[in-house]
Point group: C2
């Protein structure tokens, strides 16, 4: 393993953009050891000086030039960070210049525009979606299905709830979820509650091994978590979803972000 | 209003990084009209050609050079996008080159490294945190408070649940939340359940106007949503939190992302 290099996320606001950018880039160098420190809300020149001091100290301590991912809207603030000699990768410094030229108008240089509540409509749409997804979790509030963008189905603990919440939070989509249970399987047909919404249904599945492991965390050594139960429920659910023509995704090999992005794309393509 | 310019988010994976970057940058030009289209999972050269065709068509239709925010790990794919003549802002093209030089080793050029489940530990930590926050929502599972990183308190509908879930999803923090109710206020002291965890407590508040509006959506014309009730509950909660020395944030002027970033910083500073 290489010696550890310091990485700083410096932002005059939440730092979310810089953090995600930094993470994406650092993942491209898996052989390196990085120690990442987030410095959000660096929104006065005094705080920028403090951040610069931290960066210089880290350099001195490790002997390695630190990497800095930043989103600083203020030119003076950027100049102070630059003066450390660390490797500054500032999103705004690079791209805003290009965009200003292309658009023929200056940027407003206001901090925290993208993660504030100032874009009222989009923000409240997302919060409404989160509240909807919480209210319509796990087969609740089925009378609201008319309003849902999507209804996720699958056996208990197949990843429906976190996926619903992520889609609501990230994309402002109203995502309900409905569990497929042993009682449903006995009837050998899609539950009557969800049948009218076939176009909105998407299935989640996973391997019996993974399901059994997840259920065991909740109820160790239970019938519910037993490998046989998991296998049987998954088989029946898969069959039921296939017969009903519901598109199904596997959550044992994909992250919630990946599943959400795929499901969102299916909505766009389906002409929501 | 200016004519609408097409913006494309093109990625060989989920497109989350490119989307967040694009949003941050577009927000810096509020006078412009943009029509944004996401093209995720553009992971074969055929799909890149399709994306390039979409970009050229949009240019022709609007007469304005499109902006493209992209995260393409493949050089050939980037060359195809470049050939459209649109303004390509590729995160990897720009920053990976700089990093390769600094780190003295090539990037792995593997797509979807940051939003896949391949980084097992970090991913499962986040999913565990989401499950924790769901289980410990709204005063439930108080026996798990020992494991919580934070416990949010505040009156009903002050924004505790979405904030808890966002912090879990984004930062992998286990965030419980506990409602302060009229019964608590009658006793004039912090509920016994949360008293032992004073160091982990953080308060949320908002204006009576905003609270009344939010509660009215749930239960219109109710005592619960009445301005008087909201004002009284908020006054008593604020007093209780102040007496207990609990740091309090206002959710009527801040987004969930902002509150979450501030709360996370308070943890780091407090030496979690």
């Amino acid at each position: 393993m290489n010696p550890t290099r310091s990485v700083f996320i410096v932002s005059d606001h939440t730092g979310i953009t810089a953090e995600i950018l930094g993470k994406s880039l650092l993942c491209q160098f898996p052989g390196e050891a990085f120690a990442t420190e987030s410095l959000p809300f660096v929104d006065t020149l005094d705080k920028v000086e403090d951040a610069a001091k931290r960066i210089r100290e880290a350099w001195q301590a490790s002997g390695m030039r630190p990497l800095v991912f930043s989103t600083m809207t203020d030119d003076d603030a950027r100049a102070i960070l630059d003066s450390t000699g660390a490797m500054i990768m500032d999103v705004f410094a690079h791209f805003i210049g290009l965009m200003t030229k292309e658009l023929g108008r200056p940027a407003i240089h206001l901090k925290g525009q993208s993660h504030s509540a100032s874009n009222e409509t989009a923000y409240h749409e997302r919060i409404d979606a989160v509240n909807f997804s919480l209210a319509a979790d796990d087969g609740l509030a089925t009378q609201k299905y008319e309003q849902a963008d999507l209804i996720l189905v699958g056996v208990s603990r197949s990843g429906k709830t976190p996926t619903s919440l992520y889609m609501a939070m990230q994309y402002g989509l109203k995502v309900a979820n409905y569990p497929l249970t042993p009682e449903n399987f006995e009837k050998h047909s899609l539950p009557a509650t969800i049948r009218p919404y076939k176009r909105k249904l998407r299935g989640l599945t996973l391997t019996p091994e993974r399901l059994s492991a997840i259920r065991s965390e909740r109820r160790p050594n239970s019938e519910y978590a037993a490998m046989d139960t998991c296998k049987r429920e998954l088989d029946l659910a898969t069959q039921m979803m296939a017969e009903a023509g519901i598109p199904v995704l596997d959550s044992s090999t994909r992250s919630i972000e990946e599943i959400s992005a795929i499901l969102r794309q299916s909505l766009v393509k389906g002409g929501r």
